[in-house]
């Protein structure tokens, strides 16, 4: 009998730390090719239209930035959570609440215009996401409630709340009963970065600036040290005089605030009104982005662009080779699975051992 055995390495492997995301991408592409083959499509054509085609013209590069912006913003916030051992799975809900809070201004007070509108909307978006994230933080700090469950379940609450708002009180009075809010006036729209070449709005700039700032905080300051220490060992954290409970709130509020900013940026920059669904699962995909980027905000920028490509590729493949856009969800799943599996290589060696079935085995 042959058995595959994992053996712990004395020290984590530097080579695999760098290459494991690449190996994961290769495995994902291979599995993807097999999937397309089973669907009866040519794997090379499918992978081309999935991963290469969207990068061939300026228009779709702008679309790539539009999709990458929320992923990078959310994943940057999540990196603090995951590094400090707070498993915030509810960024999707915090994203939605950010969108709702920020939209309140142009929807409820459409006559209020001017240069102050946009900054206020962004701030309210941050507050909305942060406030929503405070709920699982409070439950964890106060009652040791499992934050994975509480934050995840609040996503569904947020989705239904948004759905109710746009069908009910916030429905556009001039909208022929469509479940949509009124469209935002010009002062409430986040402008494009390079107006001439495409739609990409300032959300992408926010994402890059915030990711770089966060990288600095996490790697150079005492706060970042505190995040890592508490994540690695709460007891050593207590010995260092860091408070676990304060870190729970900090991590959730920062992650929620950034998810909220992503939410209002998306609504104000890419959509221009509230609809029953404002996110194709950015909050969940950002979890993959955070891990693919090794919880390092600079890595997250790269990972965000790759995952954004999987959204665009899904749309492109739908048109050019006629596969369901659910394929992009499958791709994301494959990628996360491969990333987590490949990370094993960093800490473990794979050994193949031949064993004899012993008689004493009971």
């Amino acid at each position: 009998m042959i058995r595959i055995q994992l053996e712990k390495r004395a020290q984590h492997s530097a080579i695999f730390s760098l290459t494991s995301p690449l190996i994961a991408l290769a495995i994902t592409a291979t599995l993807g090719a097999i999937m397309f083959l089973l669907l009866g499509k040519s794997p090379t054509a499918a992978l081309y239209s999935y991963f290469i085609e969207p990068l061939t013209d300026m228009w779709s590069i702008h679309e790539l930035m539009i999709k990458a912006a929320p992923l990078i913003l959310i994943a940057t916030g999540l990196s603090i959570c995951f590094l400090s051992n707070n498993w915030n799975i509810g960024a999707e809900g915090q994203f939605i609440l950010g969108g709702i809070f920020g939209s309140a201004l142009p929807i409820l007070y459409p006559e209020f215009t001017g240069p102050m509108v946009l900054p206020l909307m962004l701030i309210m978006g941050i507050i909305g996401g942060a406030a929503y994230a405070t709920i699982p933080a409070f439950l964890k700090a106060k009652f040791s409630t499992n934050e994975i469950l509480s934050s995840l379940m609040l996503v569904y609450v947020a989705q239904l709340f948004l759905d109710w708002l746009v069908r009910g009180p916030w429905r556009n009075p001039e909208g022929f009963n469509f479940p949509e809010s009124r469209t935002f006036h010009a002062d409430a729209i986040l402008p494009e970065i390079w107006f001439a070449s495409g739609r990409a709005h300032w959300g992408f700039a926010f994402a890059i600036i915030i990711a770089v700032l966060m990288w600095f905080v996490l790697n150079k300051t005492l706060k970042g040290f505190e995040v890592r220490v508490l994540g690695l060992s709460p007891r050593a954290g207590r010995f260092a005089g860091f408070s676990e409970n304060k870190m729970i709130y900090t991590a959730f509020i920062v992650a929620g605030g950034l998810a909220g900013l992503a939410g209002i940026s998306e609504v104000s920059g890419a959509i221009g009104q509230l609809r029953p669904v404002i996110s194709p699962g950015y909050g969940f995909t950002a979890i993959i982005v955070a891990f693919l980027g090794r919880l390092n905000p600079l890595g997250i920028i790269a990972a965000g662009l790759i995952l954004a490509l999987s959204y665009l590729g899904g749309e492109a493949a739908q048109i050019s080779i006629g596969v369901s856009n659910k394929v992009s969800a499958v791709f994301q799943g494959l990628l996360l699975f491969s990333v987590l599996a490949c990370d094993t290589l960093i800490h473990y060696k794979i050994k193949i051992v031949k064993t004899m079935r012993g008689k004493a085995a009971l």
Binding site: A10, Q11, H12, K220, T221, L222, K223, F225, R228, V229, L232, S233, R235, A236, R238, F239, A240, G241, A360, A361, L362
Partner: protein, 519 residues
């Protein structure tokens, strides 16, 4: 046991010259002993004497490096616990392996043949329970049971496998006196049926009361076999802790009464903080400048909780319970205490004193970011760490403590125990604290490093600081300390002068006798 019975006794298990080596440490060194049928045999020794290692080899979770195990006079190689169970060896561990959210019967069923129906398990369990006076409700959830009841579940589970030898590892360490009494009755019933019991303990009165014979271990070696009934608690204690003569170094002039009291603990009480935590009961002591104050005791008698209370990792109900240079600090955090001049070094090196996956420089920041913020942090409220300053401190510590490491600033996890301990203590010495509290400063550290660490602690006290050393190593405490107090079940004995106290007295105090009995 009368002489005529001894003649016809039947040997069940014998261990010959058993040796187990971990790195350079001989955990078991040529251990010999034997157990007869229908005997309760005590394995006596301090923490770290090698009791657990020996038992793990008997139960098949460790393999010996030398010597042999004879079962009914036949040599056996016990490769795994399932084989030990096949032979007829059962084990009840110190920490239970039960699922809280399952019923008693379900927990028991988990260790039996998968085909046994649950109803039959309950029936069997209750039959065994009745027979040995281990009353238990098989339908109850384990989570709702008391510690004593959980232990009964473990014992029933063990008995259902019909063992001939039952190993009990420190069974009374978690029990109330009443629960202990019931346990002893059960054990006596088992003995009367011809079953053998290997009873591991450091509690002398229990051993004397219950056990037919005893084997005493110290530093991995058998120091003697005896019949507890013929011994006194003092003679047992003397065997356990050793009587080797050593020279005591007087650290400071004990006649000087005018020294400033640096640390004063007054009536410190604290409830248990978790299921395996010990309550602290009315602890009071003073430590003056220039003294090394020792706290002895067997692990798990509240030393860890006392350390946490003194360090400020856990704050006190009443600020006056702990005073540092006339300042009540009971409500102050660990970093406020550090800023006032105190320093701490916990027992657990990884995950408490240091983090294995962080570099040594980062580990220096761990305990000193608040007390030496002006050195290691810049940028005002941004608090940007200064790697160059941390590395400078690191090389200073490496120099003075003679730390051996590979690379300039390796991860803490790559250092050996002794070298890491030098870094952890050096990190505090480097601050010249006026109070240093250390828990197990030389635990698992090789002899050379241990001597260096002790010397550094003595030097610190000579320079006028107060030093508190919590240790299970009596030799170490007698060598370094001015006075030694003993922790037992969360209480602290009267401090004894190290120059006059006998090991016997300390051993008795460790075994739970009060100072009056011991003196």
């Amino acid at each position: 046991m009368a002489a005529s019975e001894i003649a016809q006794r039947k040997q069940l298990l014998a261990v010959e010259n058993l040796t187990k080596v971990f790195g350079t440490l001989k955990a078991n060194d040529g251990v010999d002993f034997d157990i007869d049928e229908g005997e309760i045999h005590a394995l006596l020794g301090e923490n770290g004497a090698g009791k657990s290692t020996l038992v793990k080899m008997l139960f098949g979770t460790l393999q010996p490096d030398g010597g042999q195990i004879l079962w009914r006079s036949k040599p056996q190689i016990i490769t795994k616990p399932s084989f030990a169970r096949q032979l007829g060896i059962g084990m009840v561990f110190q920490h239970f392996s039960l699922f809280d959210s399952l019923s008693v019967a379900e927990n028991i069923a988990l260790s039996l043949d998968a085909s046994t129906p649950l109803s039959k398990v309950s029936e069997e369990a209750e039959r065994v329970a009745d027979k040995y006076g281990l009353s238990i409700n098989a339908e109850a959830m384990v989570g709702d049971l008391s510690v004593g009841e959980r232990q009964r579940v473990e014992i029933i589970r063990c008995l259902l496998q019909k063992p001939n030898l039952i190993i009990l590892d420190e069974p009374t360490s978690v029990l109330t006196p009443q629960e202990s009494d019931r346990l002893f009755e059960t054990l006596e019933t088992l003995r009367s049926e011809g079953k053998s019991i290997l009873y591991i303990s450091h509690k002398l009165d229990e051993v004397k009361r219950l056990c037919d014979r005893a084997t005493v271990l110290r530093h991995g070696k058998v120091v003697g076999h005896c019949i507890p009934a013929d011994e006194t608690p003092s003679s047992l204690a003397a065997m356990m802790v050793g009587e080797s003569i050593h020279t005591i170094r007087k650290v400071a002039d004990e006649t000087d009464k005018n020294r400033e009291i640096v640390l004063s603990v007054q009536n410190l009480s604290q409830k248990p903080t978790g299921p395996f935590s010990t309550a602290l009961k009315d602890i009071s002591f003073d430590v003056p400048a220039g003294e090394v104050f020792g706290i002895a005791g067997v692990a798990g008698n509240g030393q860890f909780e006392l350390f946490e209370a003194m360090s400020g990792e856990r704050m006190q109900k009443d600020a006056a319970m702990i005073t540092f240079r006339n300042d009540p600090i009971g409500h102050k955090s660990i970093n406020e205490r550090r800023k006032a001049g105190a320093a701490f070094s916990p027992e657990e090196r990884f995950g408490h004193a240091a983090i294995a996956t962080l570099s040594l420089a980062d580990n220096i920041l761990l305990s000193r970011h608040a007390s030496d913020a002006n050195v290691y942090l810049s940028g005002g409220i941004l608090k940007i760490a200064k790697p160059s300053a941390l590395r400078k401190t690191l090389s200073r510590i490496v120099e003075t403590m003679d730390v051996r490491k590979s690379g300039e600033n390796p991860d803490a996890g790559t250092l050996s125990g002794g070298n890491l301990q030098k870094v952890i203590l050096g990190r505090e010495f480097d601050r010249q604290p006026s109070l240093l509290i250390v828990d197990q400063p030389t635990w698992g550290v090789d002899a050379g490093a241990a001597a260096r660490i002790r010397q550094s602690l003595i030097d610190l006290s000579k320079s006028g600081s107060a030093v508190v050393v919590i240790s299970q190593d009596l030799d170490e405490l007698l060598e370094m300390c001015g006075r030694i107090a003993v922790m037992s079940e969360g209480q602290m004995s009267e401090p004894q002068q190290a120059s006059t106290v006998t090991r016997e007295t300390l051993g008795l105090l460790m075994g739970g006798a009060n100072a009056g009995q011991a003196a």
